[in-house]
């Protein structure tokens, strides 16, 4: 560890298309289950894309009605995941205020790629139809992109700073890297870190579809997300949240916390190439992987497993293959769990970090489903179809976002 400060993952929480918590999400992944389904709402009928990876458990089954009135879906799902992670870490009971960390040493880094877009659209409909007086007074706190982080901070009583990085699909990778920095810099002992997204609605889908970025395999939803496969035709939009509890090792050990893995390092770079196209040579992502290895004090040969960003777009998957081959080599066992839960945008890095952490912890790589006919240029060892049991001393999680953002996290066995 280059900085001398050891940071551990002591809690996890998630709500995803595969399950309403981290355990059921992980079970779904190991079973190779697809969370992609047709969109039942009427509005989908006129869109070119009519499939998505929708939440397995609706927030209304978890949070009460009055609470939900003042939360955008992106905030509600973040709160659900954050409360699970908090309880999992054994940090206390938010309702009594009893907690195992000083609030002034507790920070939040929870990002979203898009924020409360659904609230913005709904309230604009109300404005157009009924005038300004009918617009909800909760509109601004529901749509502001820091809303999810702020609610998590309020619920858990965090007073060492609440941050909400936003870098499209690299958002939560970057949020977790920021959490690592805060602990290393001595500004917090515990950081609630992760990401959230919930924009399965007409305008975002129309926008992504207009970019020709999404799969249009509407008649075969479970097979639509197929990273690294020759027949891949774009990503499948997912929704959900993932939250990690990052904790300074001495703090965790002093309270006898259970430990999933060590967050050993992070690498953040920007492509400087194009606003949405990945650099086809993967130069920015290569530098991010190299930076993460250096930060973690790891050699490429130490990496046994990579949870790839691989969204199932033709260009993006290929650029990542190039970067992985160059930065790590072709020995790690690679997977893309997006084949099952779709692309969670700002929550992708957090949910996939949970997959990576559990892979390290349990010694099993979740599968990449639908990899029936691998791309001719795929010369990496991908865990196709079935989970792979193996020793994983160290693993990487990649997240890359529109705007040319690259965030790579290195987890090691603790």
């Amino acid at each position: 560890m280059t900085s001398g400060t050891e940071v551990l993952v002591t809690g996890i929480g998630a709500s995803t298309p595969l399950g309403g918590d981290a355990a059921s999400t992980w079970e779904g992944m190991l079973a190779g289950r697809s969370g992609v389904t047709p969109i039942a709402a009427d509005w989908a009928a006129s869109l070119p894309v009519r499939i998505a990876a929708q939440l397995a458990v609706e927030p209304s089954e978890v949070l009460d009605r009055v609470r939900l009135r003042r939360l955008d879906r992106v905030e509600a799902v973040a709160l659900i995941a954050a409360h699970e992670a908090w309880a999992d870490a054994g940090l206390g009971d938010p309702t009594t205020g009893e907690r195992a960390v000083d609030p002034e040493r507790l920070a939040v880094t929870v990002g979203t790629g898009i924020g409360g877009a659904q609230t913005l659209l709904n309230q604009d409909d109300i404005l157009e139809a009924s005038g300004a007086r009918k617009v909800s007074p909760h509109t601004v706190p529901m749509l502001m992109p820091n809303g999810a982080a702020a609610w998590v901070g309020l619920d858990l009583g965090a007073k060492a700073g609440v941050h909400s990085p936003s870098s499209a699909c690299a958002t939560s990778g970057e949020a977790i890297a920021l959490g690592l920095d805060l602990i290393r810099a001595g500004r917090a002992d515990v950081v609630v870190a992760g990401g959230t997204e919930a924009v399965i609605s007409p305008l975002p889908i129309a926008g992504f579809a207009a970019m020709r970025a999404m799969s249009t395999r509407n008649d075969d939803p479970e097979r639509a997300s197929r990273p690294f496969d020759k027949a891949r035709d774009g990503f499948v939009l997912g929704e959900g949240a993932g939250i990690l509890i990052l904790e300074r090792a001495e703090h965790a050990r002093a309270r006898g916390a259970k430990v999933y893995a060590r967050l050993a390092g992070a690498g953040i770079t920007s492509d400087g190439y194009d606003i949405v196209q990945p650099d086809p040579e993967g130069r920015g992502s290569t530098r991010a992987i190299v930076a993460a290895l250096r930060d973690a004090g790891l050699a490429p040969t130490d990496i046994a497993h990579v949870n790839a960003h691989a969204t199932s777009t033709p260009v993006g998957d290929m650029a990542e293959i190039v970067a992985l081959r160059r930065a790590v080599g072709n020995h790690p066992v690679v997977t893309s769990t997006k084949s099952m839960h779709g692309h969670l945008l700002g929550a992708a890095g957090a949910v996939e970090s949970i997959a990576t952490i559990l892979a390290v912890h349990h010694g099993v790589v979740p599968p990449t489903i639908n990899l029936d006919d691998p791309d001719d240029q795929l010369d990496l060892d991908v865990a196709a179809h079935k989970a792979r049991h193996m020793e994983i001393p160290a693993a990487l999680n990649n997240s890359f976002g529109f705007g040319g953002h690259n965030a790579v996290l290195a987890f090691t066995r603790a």
């Binding site: 009460d64 009605r65 009055v66 009135r69 003042r70 007086r133 009918k134 909800s136 007074p137 909760h138 706190p141």
Partner: protein, 81 residues
Amino acid sequence: MATREEITAGLAEILEEVAGVNPDDVTEAKSFTDDLDVDSLSMVEVVVAAEEKFSVKIPDDEVQNLKTVGDAVSYIQKANP
């Protein structure tokens, strides 16, 4: 014309919908903020819903004077006799 009891019952319905207040707790002596935990943003929702329900206008300047449920009942009764 609505009686004070009818207006109180109507406000109780709104308060339950907007802020999750138990209708049994809504009596004329109760303060919206101190007794019923209605925060400032929810109070805006209550006012807008009450305007619609009772066909009255409640100007923003007036809202600060509506401390208790009874204050609101009196204002609504006066505004829509």
